[in-house]
Subunit: 535 residues, 2 copies
């Protein structure tokens, strides 16, 4: 590591601006404010809120943000250099940037001859003036300015002299940080590191170099870490790696790499542990399924399935973990599957707090899990069903509701389809009989069950199904095979849980997973069982 | 790039072995064979099929694989070094490796003092003998041996002398490639590159160094590329980056980086273009939603949403793309508008082999496919449904049977379940009305349909369902969401085909896929349509 390597790396979050370019994401102003507050709690240095010159929704965000108190982060407005042949003060987009009322602005400009000539269609000299004059104008309005050199790496590869001239204009104009962007995301770590070093050498150690990298060659994180290792002091990225095309550098992975691998600082002392929660929260607000395999903060990031790994973990906790998952707020899990050895079952029982139960009950639980797995259940992704299974084996267990009968019907007459369900169950001592239609039999069952539970448990209205997966198990039995249904749930806040059902009848398997989902959510979680994800 | 950098990099795929450790993945033997055939078509050098010593399902895979012809890939059996204080020939797990009947074996052993002493609980000397003797034994049985040095990077950091001694034993024993594993996945690119260089320097250029890297620091791809840049000639990974915890290095990203960025060779000439299809196919078989943001092969990888990007793309096609997406079989898309239409249609028709159809029918087929994909159908893994769709659009098409009405019923009274179906259809001009019970509604439908078809088509008795998969598409709609049903079929010989159905009603979606399955099988396949997989 070079002697100039800094102790503190500025985290510039652009989840709200570049992250909003993800296919499928469409934030409301309220979504943006909720995410911004969470990022402020996490302690990033900058939150890029949007492009006030490009749409009214972003302008409204800045209006709202001005009314709030931000403890750690500076809110940043994003925009472009002035258009060709206009004064900055005459460009409405530059004026919108001033009007956003933030202390800090980030503006982007071209650094590549090809981009200036073929996309911007202006002269190289005019582009230099556009950069310098826009930065200087914003400085004259009292703004701190971060300069994003778009396509810098491509521009530098093609014509390093001109690319450095562009940066020089921004520096002369008063930009506090020169951010090198790999806009097309195609570079590799050693290329990024070499360019960062060349820029640093050209301007000397007093100039602050930042980076903004994309994941188009699958190296967004590695490129960021390599650039910081090479001397960059400011890194831009997004939570969960959201962003245009393949996304931006994923801050949920970049930040722990900075703190735990490079041993530098990126967040306020003690804040790294919040990262897992922030990742989940942002996924919920963006309405995206969390990526379970995400490094550091994914639900599977410290989940061990191979029997040989689990038995090794029992002998030495670090045998198959590169860090202690608690440092990022995550946890180690043992996945129970048909391929699991004895070690997994024992470890899982311990995680479920079964060590406190008398040995007889503990053994019974393991026996039931194994028997149910033989029937086709799979508990590896259904901790809520495991928790219920344990509860149901306790001598003092009282079920919330008991099913007696159901009937499901689907008819098709020509083009017309009808699905209907009736169910009869006891809810806390009272017999309830309900019926409902649905756009399919599963929906009809679910609707009838909600109808039956709602008078006693009004909170069922919050419970939502997040995902529903079905898999046949013994393919050779044809349509008579055992099917396994896995349902993921959430309650509109950050609580998530998963349940499983299995059987030859797909609707009966669905019923079991549905009933588990409601029963688990409606029973207050007991501490020893609380394996659901924390918010 | 060093002078020793090779021209050809061996791709060692472990989607079936390490990829099977992904939380939520549970392959059937048939799933494994289908994926293996696809990997062979792609042209990887090695396909690691499983660990025959660890479970009977993997042993069965090798038994089946021996009956097939593999054009590009060598099938590899995986196992461990012999247990302490046993002769290799007395270790049942080593014997299972020999019995798997592959030309090539991959075995893993310890390279770290900590792992040997605290996990394996044997002496450092015995571990060295375990490595050397197991490799030599397998060589004496005529096997080519690839040696996986588990935890090599950690072991080398702790005690480079011992780590190199372990490799030396494998080399002396006759291993053709020494594979350095970052088993816990926590290293960074420049660390991996330095260790690869140190090993290469120690053994000299004649020894072949490989790498097996995980994604726990979000650098699985970058570390692989850095290692190859530093001299490694063999890289292990998985399709879509499946694998334990955060997954293995993603070959869908590593391979294009090798070919397009490092300008080396990884696949047979002209095969890179198949990568996008392989990524989708493996996701379907694994029953995982594809990762749209995946570099190179994700559906969003070349999708442009930002207005500023889209207009720049119109001026200069490379303005926001690091490569031409066609090189990996992917395509550019514009998210905000439907302007991309025509190019997509031509591309899609070509992908489906529709170039032989007259232009008008071809355009119609693509239009229907797009409309059906919008409804939730997915044709990547359902070639039989594509073939039927083409047939049905032909002016002279006569359907084998036409459904009028159906009714499905499932009842549960206490512990007793009944599922019943009635269907009314026209079979070659005759109206047929049948009813059947089943152990679930899908089975009842299937039985009623067979009953209706059997008098006219006695060969339905041979038709069997091999796999049945269901996935919800728009999770936010809860139990009212669209479900997609994928059915794999076989006829007891080697003929296999797959069909798809979709809709909000799971039974209706199932009906569509069932009906397609029978209709496809009962119509003589026409050569131009015969996209079914060869066995």
């Amino acid at each position: 590591m070079s002697a100039a390597t800094p102790r503190f790396i500025e985290i510039f979050d652009t989840t709200l601006r570049d992250g909003g370019q993800t296919e499928g994401i469409s934030y409301s102003v309220d979504d943006k404010l909720r995410i911004a507050r969470k990022l402020d709690e996490l302690g990033v240095a900058f939150i890029e809120g949007g492009w006030p010159g490009s749409n009214p929704k972003d302008a409204l965000f800045f209006e709202q943000a001005r009314k709030e108190t931000w403890n750690h982060a500076k809110i940043v407005a994003f925009g472009a250099t002035r258009r060709a042949k206009l004064k900055p003060e005459d460009d409405p987009s530059v004026r919108a940037l001033v009007d956003a009322g933030t202390d800090v602005c980030a503006i982007f400009g071209k650094s590549s001859v090809l981009q200036v000539e073929e996309v911007l269609r202006t002269t190289l000299d005019e582009n230099l003036r556009m950069i310098g004059e826009t930065v200087a104008y914003l400085r004259s309005k009292g703004k701190r300015v971060i300069y994003d050199a778009e396509h810098f790496f491509d521009g530098f590869d093609q014509n390093p002299t001109y690319a450095l001239q562009c940066l020089g204009e921004a520096h002369q104009g008063g930009a506090e940080t020169l951010v090198l962007c790999d806009t097309n995301g195609g570079h590799l770590p050693w290329e990024v590191a070499a360019t960062v070093q060349a820029v640093q050498k050209h301007f000397g150690p007093a100039v602050r170099v930042g980076i903004h990298l994309h994941d188009d060659s699958g190296c967004g994180v590695a490129n960021s870490v390599a650039a910081i290792h090479a001397g960059a002091v400011h890194v831009q990225g997004t939570i969960n790696g959201y962003g245009e095309r393949c996304g931006n550098a994923n801050l949920c992975v970049v930040i722990p790499n900075i703190e735990l691998k490079l041993k530098l600082r990126a967040l306020p002392e003690g804040h790294l542990v919040r990262l897992h929660e922030v990742a989940r929260f942002v996924a919920e607000v963006a309405n995206f399924a969390p990526n379970d395999q995400m490094a550091y903060v994914g639900e599977s990031a410290f989940a061990h399935k191979a029997g040989v790994h689990v038995s090794a973990m029992q002998r030495h906790p670090d045998a198959y973990q590169h860090i202690d998952p608690k440092r990022v707020g995550n946890e180690m899990r043992v996945v129970v599957s048909e391929l699991s050895g004895r070690a997994n079952i024992v470890e899982k029982a311990a995680q479920l707090g079964l060590t406190n139960l008398d040995q007889q009950l503990g053994a019974r639980v393991v026996e039931v899990i194994k028997a149910k797995e033989h029937e086709g259940f799979s508990f590896e992704a259904a901790e809520a069903s495991v928790a219920l299974l344990v509860r149901r084996l306790s001598p003092d267990h009282r079920p919330l509701f008991t099913l007696h009968d159901y009937r499901g019907m689907v008819n098709r007459h020509g083009d017309r389809q009808v699905a209907e369900a009736t169910i009869k169950l006891t809810v806390q001592g009272h017999e309830v009989h309900t019926a409902a239609e649905g756009n399919g039999p599963v929906n009809a069952f679910d609707t009838a069950l909600r109808k039956a539970l709602q008078p006693t448990f009004p909170q069922v209205a919050q419970i939502q199904l997040a995902d529903y997966k079905v898999r046949i198990l013994n393919g050779n039995s044809g349509t008579g095979a055992i099917t396994r249904v896995l349902i993921d749930w959430h309650d509109g806040s950050e609580r998530r849980w998963s349940t499983v059902g299995a059987g030859t009848n797909i609707l009966d398997a669905t019923w079991l997973a549905l009933a588990d989902g409601y029963e688990y959510a409606l029973t207050a979680a007991q501490p020893a069982e609380a394996k659901e994800s924390k918010a």
